[in-house]
């Protein structure tokens, strides 16, 4: 039986200061018994011979200095087993669906450890999401971490759900699982996700962790770690391909700032702690593949950019860690285009590894480069056209201008249930490029133009005849 201390000297926000303890380990789990008989959990943030600082996950409201503190001698662990699939758990891992506690196969430390870079396997299997702007222009591969940068009021949840529903590897039929971790989202949003999971039957293959807006903020710091621990268990011990959706990282970072302030730390940019980069990295870097193991972890973190500002510390530090980003645009959304993904600031760093001959199609890279360049040029010309009028533009410029419109209307826009395969997406790209003069297609090899360009369809048909 561990000793109970009644030597709390100070309570500040989520932090409790305990004195005159026996040596306590850094990061140890703590149980606190309140005078009303309830218990809470926490973790040691700072330990010395004189005092221990404990962070309480559920918050400190209702606590007094007479609370009893026990140090449990171990770090926070998550009980895991295959029975977790289909379950809905709280942000600290307790059942919310009325079911029994998970009978553990193992109990795993939730902080996880860094994957040895030498043990990593490079992600290169193309995941088809059925969304043209992702598959064609910002291709996702297994083991990648690709966040969605969104803003308040934009349909990022719909996009995440559509991806979760449609994502598949065309060539393989391995087991997959979806892990959904909600951090500080509203009850209504959570319901929206849950309904969709139930409607499509995805819940059977999912583990859901819910920390809702009215749950304690400190708990948000452990929710994604529980989710990723469960993901690692399923991926590396049961060979599953796991898709992890984390939403909303902005709430996570707010919680981080709150704790930092309570600890009276020296703040970094905009009051966020200086170690936020490292802290976020310990989440995002848990995506990946390991040599010799079959499973993989692909991450889709969702964050809302405060004020749609991509230079805000949260999207900024995220972009420096993740392998690209999908940026949702308010302008496209206002135009009534779904999914309003702006391909220009979007990027997938691992795209080149997953596309090309034998994976998608030989012309994929050049076509996407060409579409990018043409859309960027057309988009730039919109500014000019607004000043001098469309008529004053040269013929070449007019063609680019109409390319940009066509691109948004035909390529970007698609239905919420529309699942386009990669052939359709690439075919669509060629069709749109066909509206430009052949001479400006400098990024395309002659052999690809002959093989795929709509203008050469006649020649190809003629050549195919004996």
């Amino acid at each position: 039986m561990t000793k109970e201390y009644r030597t709390v000297t100070k309570i500040a926000g989520p932090l409790v200061f305990v004195e005159k303890t026996e040596p306590v380990g850094y990061g140890e789990l703590v149980g606190v018994a309140l005078s009303d008989g309830t218990t809470r959990r926490g973790q040691v943030l700072d330990t010395s011979k004189e005092a221990v600082v404990v962070q309480i996950f559920e918050g400190t409201s209702g606590m007094d200095k007479a609370s009893g503190v026990r140090f449990l001698g171990e770090t926070l662990k998550l009980p895991v087993s295959l029975d977790m699939l289909g379950r809905i758990l709280s942000g600290s891992g307790d059942p919310l669906d009325g079911g029994p506690r998970v009978v553990p196969d193992k109990r795993l430390d939730i902080t996880g450890s860094a994957i040895n870079p030498w043990a990593r396997d490079s992600p290169k299997e193309f995941i088809q999401t059925g969304i043209s702007t992702i598959d064609g222009m910002n291709t996702l591969v297994r083991g990648q971490k690709l966040p969605i940068f969104s803003g308040a009021g934009l349909p990022h949840n719909d996009i995440a759900l559509q991806i979760a529903r449609q994502a598949k590897v065309p060539t393989a039929t391995a087991e997959f699982a979806v892990i959904f971790a909600a951090m500080g989202i509203t009850n209504e949003e959570a319901q929206y996700f849950m309904r969709d999971f139930e409607r499509t039957g995805a819940l059977k293959r999912a583990v859901v962790f819910l920390n809702l807006a009215d749950d304690p903020a400190v708990e948000r710091l452990i929710t994604p770690r529980l989710a990723l621990t469960a993901a690692e268990y399923l991926a590396y011990e049961h060979d599953m391909h796991v898709l992890v959706i984390l939403t909303d990282l902005t709430n996570y970072c707010e919680a981080l700032r709150q704790i930092g302030a309570a600890r009276e730390e020296v703040p970094g940019r905009q009051g966020y702690p200086g170690y936020m980069y490292t802290d976020l990295a310990t989440l995002y870097e848990r995506a990946g593949k390991i040599k010799g193991r079959k499973g993989s972890i692909t991450q889709f973190p969702i964050l809302t950019m405060p004020g749609d500002d991509i230079t805000h510390p949260i999207p900024d530090l995220t972009g420096y860690i993740t392998e690209g980003q999908i940026v949702i645009s308010r302008d496209l959304h206002r135009k009534g285009i779904y999914p309003p993904i702006n391909v220009l600031p979007s990027l997938s760093r691992l795209m080149n590894a997953g596309i090309g001959k034998d994976m998608t199609r030989e012309d994929h890279k050049s076509v996407s480069d060409q579409v990018y360049a043409a859309y960027a040029e057309g988009n730039d010309l919109r500014g000019l056209a607004a000043i001098v009028g469309k008529e004053a533009l040269s013929d070449r410029d007019k063609r680019f201008l109409s390319f940009a419109d066509l691109f948004e209307d035909r390529f970007v826009r698609q239905g919420r249930e529309e699942d386009r395969d990669i052939e359709t997406t690439l075919g669509l790209s060629w069709e749109l490029l066909g509206s430009l003069p052949e001479g400006v297609l400098t990024r395309l090899d002659r052999k690809f133009i002959q093989k795929y360009h709509p203008a050469h369809k006649g020649e190809r048909a003629a050549a195919a005849k004996p």
Binding site: P23, G25, Y26, G27, E28, D46, T47, S48, K49, T75, T111, S113, A114, I115, N116, P117, W118, A119, R120, D121, S122, Q144, E265, V266, G268, R269, G274, Y275, Y277, T278, E285, R286, G288, R293, I310, T311, P313, D316, L317, G319, Y320, I321, E323, G324, Q325, L344, P345, N352, A353, Y372, A373, A376, L384, I387, V388, A392, L393, G439, T442, D445
Partner: protein, 577 residues
């Protein structure tokens, strides 16, 4: 002398100990698991230690041992082709010992103790030897002859020296005062290795990247910074430099960056060939990977580990380049540790000594005369990741005060898929003048003028673009429209380079010259043709321009270029009729 004390306090990676009296930067072992740490502060009878591994579970009262030695790296054959973490533990060995994840409390020597190397002496008994002198060599990889040097501060007369097969710790020679010499030596990472004197860096580091070699060259022994927002191509540029630059040894430090990027290097480098020797690139590369989720204190140490290894190869008379990606993550590690120490913060929470630390690091670059009298260099290229792409932040600004070359990455160019996304208007190289002589002697006597012309066209284009934004390009006089056309050719044909294309990825100087001269020729012919009242529309639609745009992707570049020149001549002749 080892001494033992106790843990007093643990707060993240910072541990306070009592009962030991170390010097600053002594290495200590913390706790039962003997986690490695370094003393970074002394306060009364307490020592403040940054620990290189995760400190969860460490309790006050656990044992702390002072080794009374600073943090050292092992230098000797076997460094090349290795991949280390920030404190020189070989990652493959760590994987064998603790599995796919980095756990703690495992120490592993930097150099393999069991591997034998064939040592060939170059000195004989009775020879007087001085620090830095070469006493023999081993063949480290096919093209790297690894010289065995007398360690700094050691000198005397050789009493024995024997050829044969040795491990790194066996004695290969001895001095008459009894000092044994091995294939391996150790050196404290925070101290620069000595050399005789500094030399003027007047030879360029040829990188095969057109915009760098032609417009903003870095000298061998120089310093360069690549700042840019995320997604603008810092890492790709760093990879390109480590692949194609004409250094003999490349040390690549992945400091606080993505794990998958290191995997990419590891899977790609063994299959790529060094354009100079034809050997796999891995045969000249040392990798240091301390990814963003690995312990933050080891990240702080990783750049020093890297630069010390670079200096060691420099001392053999080689040209070494060091890539540090990214120095911002290193600065953040400093900030994190500083804030745990509750130091008074400077700008944006960075410690006040940030500038001093950065300049001390970049000063370890340089072209020198080594102790043995060789001409050798360490070139340092640091990536900077400014928050929000804002170059006015402290790390970028303090870096720019030190480095001589600035390659500014621009997210606007990256979004337009103009790669490398280096902005030609805001980038600069202060080596331009010093290196002109080399370029004019080795590339073409016309080089300086050609480069000046290209820069002038790009500069004028930027001015004209402002007008075009207001009135459209058709409103400009034809000669200015031609300039815009030529500038477009320079941008699209010369400055853009496809890092993923097997031919275009590396462009030798001779091709850079031909490509740029051909664009110049097109410009000259067009100017002359327009004086003879040929309309611009006719010139703009010439086929030779399109063929030229694709020539850089052809294996037979010279043949293709000849065709372009012929086509150009005939097209202009036809237009004149």
């Amino acid at each position: 002398m080892e001494e033992k004390g106790q843990v007093y306090r643990v707060s993240g990676p910072v541990v306070t100990a009592e009962g030991i009296r170390p010097r600053m930067y002594d290495v200590v072992a913390v706790g039962q698991e003997k986690l490695m740490g370094e003393v970074i502060g002394l306060e009364g009878d307490r020592s403040i230690i940054q620990v290189y591994e995760d400190t969860s579970g460490i309790r006050p009262g656990e044992e702390v041992t002072n080794t009374a030695m600073p943090l050292m790296v092992e230098l000797g054959p076997g460094l090349v082709k290795s991949i280390y973490d920030g404190i020189q533990r070989p990652l493959p060995v760590l994987r064998d010992r603790m599995g796919d994840f980095i756990r703690r409390g495992v120490s592993a020597p930097g150099l393999d103790r069991s591997r034998k190397w064939a040592f060939v002496p170059k000195a004989k008994p009775g020879d007087k030897v001085a620090p830095g002198q070469i006493i023999g060599s081993v063949q480290e990889t096919k093209y790297i002859q690894h010289h065995i040097l007398v360690p700094p501060r050691v000198s005397g007369t050789l009493s024995t020296i024997n050829a044969g097969s040795y491990t790194v710790t066996e004695t290969v020679a001895a001095l008459d005062n009894g000092t044994p010499l091995q294939l391996m030596q150790k050196w404290p990472v925070r101290m620069g290795r000595p050399f005789r004197n500094r030399k003027m860096p007047d030879v360029p580091l040829i990188t095969g990247q057109r915009i760098l070699d032609a417009l903003f060259p870095v000298a061998k022994g120089g310093t360069a910074a690549i700042p840019g927002p995320f997604g603008s191509g810092k890492t790709v540029t760093q990879h390109q430099l480590s692949k194609w630059s004409d250094a003999e040894i490349v040390v690549y430090v992945g400091c606080g960056e993505r794990g998958n990027e290191m995997t990419e290097v590891l899977s790609e480098f063994p299959h790529l060939l060094d354009p100079k020797t034809g050997a796999p690139l891995m045969d000249r590369t040392v990798l240091i990977a301390n990814t963003s989720n690995m312990p933050v204190a080891a990240r702080e140490a990783s750049v020093y580990t890297g630069v010390t290894i670079a200096e060691y190869y420099r001392d053999m008379g080689l040209n070494v380049s060091l890539m540090a990606d990214s120095t911002s993550r290193w600065a953040e590690a400093l900030r994190e540790i500083s804030s745990r120490l509750e130091e008074m913060p400077g700008e944006e929470g960075y410690p006040a000594y940030l500038a001093a630390k950065l300049s001390a690091f970049y000063e370890r670059a340089g072209r020198v005369e080594t102790l043995a009298g060789h001409d050798a260099s360490v070139t340092v290229v640091g990536a900077v990741s400014p928050p929000g792409g804002d170059f006015s932040e402290p790390v970028t600004q303090n870096t720019l005060r030190i480095v001589k070359v600035f390659w500014a990455l621009d997210s606007k160019l990256a979004q337009r898929r103009h790669f490398p996304a280096i902005n030609w208007l805001s980038s600069y190289s202060l080596y331009g003048g010093i290196l002109d002589k080399w370029y004019n002697d080795n590339v073409s006597p016309d080089w300086t003028r050609l480069r000046g012309w290209a820069m002038e066209v790009l500069q004028k284009e930027a001015e004209l673009q402002e007008i075009v934004q207001l009135v459209g390009s058709d409103a400009l006089p034809e000669e200015q429209q031609l300039l815009l056309e030529v500038a477009r050719m320079i941008r699209e044909i010369f400055l853009q380079q496809n890092a993923y294309h097997e031919v275009d990825s590396f462009c030798p100087m001779s091709r850079q010259l031909q490509l740029l001269s051909t664009i110049r020729r097109f410009s000259d012919l067009s100017t002359r043709a327009m004086e003879g009242t040929i309309p611009l529309s006719k010139i703009a639609s010439m086929k030779s321009k399109e063929v030229l745009a694709k020539a850089r992707f052809e294996k037979d570049f010279e043949g293709e270029l000849k065709k372009v020149l012929e086509l150009m001549a005939s097209e202009f002749a036809a237009a004149g009729k």
